[in-house]
């Protein structure tokens, strides 16, 4: 009996411990993130109030219809691909950015992994530092480079390569350059982590056995780097898809991405349900991608 009471008391103390320690952080995230995200899903099926906000308890799928259709004055629906175009552009730009990051990031990761150990920490530091600086400022720096009277055009004009400034800013090119610039460390670091574990003597052995460089790359380096490459691709693709600052600054009005379309619904367009629906769709895409990735890595971890 006594043991039972003591046991119950201990369990209560453990529970109190947990609540007091983990509770505040979990509670804060729950109230200020989980609840708002649920609210967003709820608002996406409400009717729009043209003054901003929503008409409550007036359910409607109108926001989701807007992805593809447009409501005419006589209440009929007609196809409207403008929003679909923005969504497809977001995927396209994210894809381009991920590919570019991989092509630039892989050699860099290989370079870092093959340096002497005492250099590596410094190299990781140099790759990471720009990531911690202001995203807005980093993208602004590219405006200085890309605009008509910017550094790149000035240099090219001075060299006589061109006689008219190239239109580098406010297009898909500028956005993908900016996105690559913003998220490149996310590609380099995971690949580096994978390659660092590789025993370089394996590469030497392959060369001793008359493997060509291409064969070494295909049969040793790429398989070793694969977990890092997959992680890097997800870590670049996902934030690209939801980016707001880069397309806003470098894209101008013509090259909107999903994030800007969402932002617009809470500013000038005043269409909360549509913005909520877009946000919910983006959230679902991201969470599905991350869950698949998490499950995959867990499986790999178990099989080993």
């Amino acid at each position: 009996m006594d043991a039972k009471v003591r046991d119950a008391a201990r369990r209560r103390a453990a529970w109190r411990d947990r609540t007091l320690l983990v509770g505040p952080a979990a509670g804060a995230i729950f109230i200020l993130m989980v609840v708002p995200l649920t609210l967003m899903a709820w608002i996406s099926i409400q009717t729009r109030d043209f003054a901003g906000g929503v008409v409550w308890n007036d359910y409607s799928g109108e926001a989701y219809l807007r992805f593809l259709f447009e409501r005419n004055l006589d209440d009929s629906l007609s196809w409207n691909f403008n929003y679909l175009l923005i969504i497809l552009r977001s995927f396209w730009l994210s894809f381009i950015t991920t590919t570019t990051s991989l092509l630039v990031g892989f050699p860099m990761a290989l370079y870092m992994a093959t340096r002497p150990a005492r250099w590596r920490a410094a190299l990781v530091f140099l790759v990471t530092v720009p990531f911690w600086t202001n995203l807005l400022v980093r993208n602004y720096a590219w405006i200085l480079l890309l605009r008509d009277h910017g550094s790149i055009n000035s240099v090219l004009l001075w060299l006589g390569v061109i006689d008219q400034p190239l239109p580098l800013l406010h297009n898909n090119f500028a956005v993908s350059v900016g996105l690559t610039y913003s998220f490149l460390p996310f590609m380099v670091l995971p690949i580096y982590t994978s390659l660092e574990k590789l025993d370089l003597r394996l590469v030497e052995a392959a060369f001793d056995l008359y493997a060509t460089r291409l064969k070494v790359l295909r049969h040793i380096l790429l398989p070793a780097a694969l977990p890092g490459i997959i992680a890097g691709c997800i870590l670049v693709f996902v934030p690209c898809l939801g980016s707001y600052v880069t397309p806003e600054l470098l894209g101008g009005g013509k090259t909107m991405m999903i994030g800007n379309l969402i932002g617009l619904q809470f500013g000038a367009a005043r269409n909360w349900p549509f913005g909520a629906a877009l946000g919910f769709a983006l959230l679902a895409l991201v969470l599905i991608a991350m869950t698949i990735y998490a499950l995959r890595t867990q499986q790999n971890g178990n099989s080993r």
């Binding site: 952080a25 708002p36 050699p107 600086t133 200085l144």
Partner: protein
Amino acid sequence: MSDIAQPAAKRRFRPLAGDPRHWPGVGFMAALFFGYVYLPIFILIALSFNKNELVTIWTGFSFDWYLKAVQNEAVLRAAWNSLLIATIASLCATALATLAAVRMARDRFAGQIAVNAMVALPLTVPEIVTAVSTLMFFSVVGITQGLTTVILAHTVFCIPFAYLPIRARLDGLDPKLAEAAGDLYANPRQAFRMITLPLMMPGIMSGAVLAFIISLDDFVTTFFVGGAGSTTLPVYIFGLIRVGVSPEVNAISSIMLMVSIALVSISLLLGRGHERSQR
């Protein structure tokens, strides 16, 4: 003589320079990489010292734009807001993260996976989605947008940035140390206060600095969740950039860049410090 002959002989049997350290083009790509990453930053900083109003043509060194920025009332107010928000949000986030990390690192309990997922949430969800959903939440609950809403939102997204270094530090600690304290008749509270807490301090500091930087640099959340009177430096700069490129923006941006770089260096050095002390 033999010294020279030997590598030559080796090379004959390895026609394809077997050393992966000298892969052709990799060094070149690395140089290109650093050029791509650092050139825009250097150009921005260089142009902020440019005398010329036209920004891209170098005409001479000048400190004027910094003076002008520092004397601008609106810039100072925005900078003050940024510091205020970042200080409060990072302190709150670090406190919450420290408490959570202490329990999460100890042993397993039911619901731990859910808590882990929740802590990772601010890192996973696109910031624009978090920002607009928080905006809707505050509006529905009826809290007026301003400094308070911004501080609350910042605290939440700073939690994982504070949590991860603290947790990493705790996981690296030897549990035997606290056990030894127990053997020497310290009660759990004393063991925590005198052994665990001092040992996890570098992690807490590093986490706090990271949370501070993240809050200081944030734009999207502040832009959507903020209101009148909560304009931070990034929001202020965004307004200026929309109008156009100006040397004053260059100066303010350069200051922000240098502050971030200094802070992240401090945080990473703190991290390195505890690595060394563990060995």
